[in-house]
């Protein structure tokens, strides 16, 4: 029977191991430049692609799946193709095969034929691949010098325009209020007329400026778009791709290990520092990382002080009676309440009651333009997570304070200190590792929790993030992105889920790393604290 019990443990550990291996093996290889095979089939067709997996299906023999990319040129608009293994006549790895990472339509696999770059200062001779690299470098320069300042100015104009519009709305609302009020202050209302007219004029001016800039931008883009890379696909058909749309180009089959490693590093850097592209299936996850971190920090600020306060009350101030026992059971219980229940509480209380009231009170003038706080937002999500994690902090604080030996307290009292002084100078410093453990556990839980966020304001794509350069910089009412929700939405709700899967594994790996790091820290801290306390009590 001991063996059966051992079998149980073995199954659990094996399961955990498989889990880790699946996440690691799928997540780590995504950015590694895998070789591209040129496959010649029996019927003469050629395929250029990466071997993904093979499956032995009954009646049809071994089937191999290739990622062939070139989505927009494919007759079925597919990235992936199944090929019967016995139909493959020959395969080889052409060294000059290139991968073009593009802004739209995913990757392009093929061969570089020539570069047409009238607007760029590139030598028109030599190896086409190096020519292409040079051209891309020069294109980047042009983009940063000509296009980016324009884009920044357009953005600035849009901001100004929005600000002016809000002031105008405020003015109009005030005017309406004055006219409808009992005193019927027509004079003041008319006085506002001038202001409003002025704002309207400013808005018109800004609109014109902005249109001019947009025109200018499209002209610049048009001239940059003249620069083309002429490439050949697997069938030898020649395609032209605008250099503007190309992010990166590499030859996976002729890269050495060092080049591959640097490519890998560049991709990881891109993941951590850029926003997503193509409906979250490519590019980075910076907004999601930012959203997750902002959410967890905001949650910590909102909930930890309260949790510690309640924990100190229960552990040090409350007299042990029936009521306190009941409260303790209640708090322990709350830690076990499903997170979705907290989520729906957030919807009912924060969004539909508090948010509604705030909107009616302060933002009545702009409600016609859309709700402000009466809808999901990072503040409400953080508050919801806050009440979700408060029990964890309470329990940890109370436990950390209660395990401090009586003698410590008594000696402090004996020296004449008050209860408050004992708490601040003696008990809290001693309990701080325990409280910290509670904090970290709460943060780990908050970072991995998705269900309540789905109800209180997480989105998969956002035009705006909660933090930007505009006053008041931190926009608590805005919706946000979250790593956990990104997994759900990219894996289950993108149309091209097959192509998106590598990205999901990468995000999963990232989230698991963050959460395991946090909880590993907590466990380490707790173990160290236990040892310390043991030493102290002896």
């Amino acid at each position: 029977m001991v063996w059966v019990a051992g079998g149980g443990l073995a199954a659990v550990l094996l399961g955990a191991l498989i889990l880790i291996v699946v996440i690691l093996s799928n997540g780590l290889v995504v950015f590694w430049p895998a070789p591209i095979e040129q496959v010649r089939l029996d019927d003469g067709t050629q395929i250029l692609g990466r071997r993904i997996n093979s499956e032995n299906s009954i009646g049809r023999g071994l089937q191999v799946r290739f990622k062939t990319a070139n989505r927009e040129f494919d007759s079925q608009r597919q990235d992936f193709h199944w090929v019967a293994d016995d139909k493959i006549a020959s395969t080889d790895l052409p060294a000059e095969c290139v991968v073009l990472e593009r802004l739209a339509n995913g990757d392009f696999y093929g061969f570089v034929k020539e570069i047409k770059s009238p607007g760029l200062d590139v030598k028109q001779s030599g190896d086409p691949f190096h020519q292409l690299q040079d051209a891309l470098r020069s294109m980047d320069l042009h983009k940063t010098e000509e296009l980016d300042p324009l884009l920044r100015r357009i953005e600035g104009k849009t901001d100004e325009l929005n600000a002016v519009k809000l002031s105008r709305l405020k003015g109009e609302y005030r005017q309406k209020q004055l006219r409808n009020s009992a005193s019927h202050d027509e004079k003041a209302a008319t006085a506002l007329e001038g202001n409003i007219a002025e704002l309207k004029a400013v808005a018109g001016e800004l609109q014109k400026d902005s249109e001019r800039l947009v025109n200018q931008r499209s002209k610049v883009e048009e001239s940059l778009r003249q620069n083309l890379a002429i490439v050949l696909d697997a069938q030898g058909a020649s395609r032209s791709i605008a250099l503007m749309d190309v992010i990166r180009v590499y030859r996976p089959n002729s890269m050495n290990i060092l080049a591959k490693a640097s490519h890998y590093a560049a991709k990881v850097w891109e993941l951590l520092t850029t926003p997503p592209r193509e409906a979250n299936t490519e590019g980075g996850v910076l907004p999601a990382i930012f959203g997750t971190v902002a959410l967890v920090l905001l949650m910590a600020v909102l909930s930890f002080p309260l949790g510690v306060l309640a924990g100190v009350y229960l552990g040090e101030y409350a007299r042990d009676g029936f009521l306190v026992r009941l409260v303790r059971i209640g708090v322990n219980n709350l830690a076990g309440i499903p997170s979705i229940v907290y989520g729906i509480f957030g919807v009912g209380f924060f969004i539909n009651s508090l948010g509604h009231a705030i909107d009616e009170q302060f933002y009545a003038y702009r409600l016609a333009e859309g709700r402000v706080f009466h809808g999901g937002g990072v503040l409400w999500a953080a508050l919801t997570l806050g009440i979700l994690t408060v029990p964890v902090v309470i329990v940890a604080t109370e436990e950390a304070i209660r395990v401090i030996p009586r003698g410590v307290r008594e000696s402090s009292y004996a020296l004449g200190s008050t209860k408050f002084q004992t708490l601040i100078r003696v008990l809290l410093p001693l309990a701080s590792p325990g409280i910290m453990t509670g904090f970290i556990l709460a943060m780990a839980r908050a970072a991995g929790e998705v269900a309540p966020l789905m109800l209180t304001g997480v989105v998969s794509t956002a035009g705006t993030v909660p933090l930007d350069g505009r006053f008041p910089y931190l926009h608590l009412e805005r919706q946000f992105l979250h790593l956990g929700f990104q997994i759900y939405t990219v894996a289950f709700q993108t149309p091209n889920s097959e192509a998106a899967r590598p990205m999901v594994y990468v995000i999963t790996l990232l989230l698991v790393l963050i959460v395991l790091l946090l909880s590993g820290m907590a466990i380490l801290l707790r173990n160290r604290m236990r040892k310390q306390l043991q030493i102290k009590t002896i």
């Binding site: 001991v2 051992g6 729906i344 998705v450």
Partner: protein, 778 residues
Amino acid sequence: MVTFSQATLTKVKRHDRMARWVVTLGGVVVIVCVLGILLMILGTTLPLFLPARARLLAHVNLPPTVKADAVLAIGIDVASDYSRQTAHILDASGTFHFVDLFSGEVIQDAKTRPSSGTVPTATPKVSEPSSQPTVLAAVRSSPAAYTLRWSDGSISLAEVVLPSLSDKASERPKFLLKNRANVPPDKFGVPREAILYATGDKSSVCAAVYSHDRIVITRQSATEDLSGDETTNAARIVIADTLPGPLTAIALDRSGTMLYAGTANGSLLWWRLGEDRVLDHDILPAFLDKRAVTSLSLMLGDVTLVVGDASGEVSNWFFVVPESERKSSAAERRTASSKKELKKLALIRTLAPHVAAIREIVASPRNRELLIRDESGAATVDVTTSERRLAKFDHVDRLAFSSRGDTIIGLTGDEIKAWHIEGSFFGHESSLHPEVSWKTLLAPVWYEGLSEPEFAWQTTGGDDYEPKLSLIPMIFGTFKGTFYAMLLAGPLALSAAAYVSHFTTPQFRAWIKPAIEMMAALPSVVLGFLVGVWLAPVIRSGLVTLLLALVSVPVVFIIFLLIWEQVRKRPAAERQARSREFLLAALLLIVGVVVASWFSSPLEQRYFGGNVTTWMSKHLGVIYDQRNSILIAFGVGFTVIPMIFTLAEDALSSVPHGMTAASMALGASRWQTLWHVVLPSASPGIFAAIMIGFGRAVGETMIFLMATGSTPNMDLSPFNGMLTLSANIAQEIPGAPAGGTLYRMLFLCAVILFVLTFILNTIAEVVRQRLRKKYGQF
């Protein structure tokens, strides 16, 4: 000696007092907040269960020009903000009197008359009194349109056009009368009963009963030719069947394809109407005691027929596939249900009875409410599916709904009264959800389109679609998912805990415990993704391997143990294996699975035709869903294993060492000690661990959302998915407008989850506190 000044001492004391206050206040506030959560969620669900009431909005006297017994019909128009309420009263001269319900004054009079022309044109204004035909009776065709039966034998449809909402409240509303359709006098004379609907802008359908129970259906449609002249085409169907008894009531659906009739001896008849002929008809002896059918009406959507009879009973009928057809195989059933001919009109339910014969039944234009009036003048507002009675009125005549269905107008003697139907919370107004009752939530309900009463949850559909709101499928799904998860997690976690606490060395324990604790931190969205995307195809293709492994792993274990019995006689082997059994067991597990996969492929080829899932659906009738309970067992199981393991391990290792040492000293083996000494004392703790694990599994959301397919089915098969309370909340709340029925229903789901986990956790907590006390003395 250090001395303090008095000032310092007071300051310190003040700080202490302040701190005590702040800390106590903070603690109490947190606890109150936390209680507030439950109250808030409960408060949101409360309106679902509140009783209804009819609040009298207004009562005014009839205008002096109108006699009470001359009133043929009454209606009400309510502005959306209730700022304007107007009644319209039709008298025998064909005049509509518009009365303001606040002041009682007549705003406007408008007269209609049967137009002899083919197409109704301009609005007839108040005209000269002459030898005009009079209106014999008026039947409501829609909340603001009436079928008027004239003394000259013609039938017309008069519609009251309500003032548009953009009209300023200060201005006096202007009502218009529009003659939507006309049926000229028929050669059979003056009809006894008639109902006329406008089926399009210029088309209409009319059913009229003439003497000798002849029924005439008239379809009219106007077409415009090239020169702009309109010609009216009329198709006429005459039904002169021999009937089982004298006709007492008819009902026609709004498209004019189904005609129902009731007779004085308790029969129901129906005809399916084509363009110009009867396609199909049937006679149904509805009431065996031959009581007369006194009133017929069609509910919103024209599917359910409401029958009122002479004994005061009101029953619902619609077409269902008869039982004999349902017993045929699934494939045949599918084709059968598409053919309406196979369906039979069946009695669905009988509502709470009235004391006198039913006089009139008015169906709500918005929901499943009915206004039922009987001969004694008593009237009720009943909801069919939830079988709730919302309100009751005495001595009323001529009842009608407003177009939004929440206001009712009626005539009591010389008085016009209007009521608002609403929820009542200790005398205060609250929102009303008539479609919800304990019965709809917890009992099978026979909804339209179902062939029998069912527990159904379905909230999206067309315009006059009725949401199906049974909680049972979700509660069932929650328990089903939890059951399968616990089936995997319980034994694994407990045996692992037993092994780690008593059979292994402290060195192994020191890294196994944190490793499993780290597993607890794994976000459930990650598990949901892996299970839904990575594991689902693995299980699908390896189903035989999985089932085979259930046999092969024990077999491998038994074979090994038989060998081990021989090997262990050598003390060196015994010593080597002791406390490291789990490493070898892992190897055995792998061997078992490899053996299973070795055998599975030939087995599948030989016995299951190469694909076990198609074989299952063909031979066992078991459908294999891509997202199923096996996935849930693995996914949710893995989230609760660490929790159960940690708590159970704590309970097992907190059993005092003296007890195990004593047992071992008496010669008991390690297993005997665990089974007979440790387990009995630790059993409350283990029970608590399972309870808490159960609570966690019940509330899990993301895995259920990502790996179940969210289908509200109700069978225990491990190869099907399920819909759980938690996944349902996450899925439907974005589409639930605040304050609506669905919104409150989702809050109710949350309450159930809350209460369920609260009970489980409280039991666990009480047990654990007791356990702590018990071992505190050692």
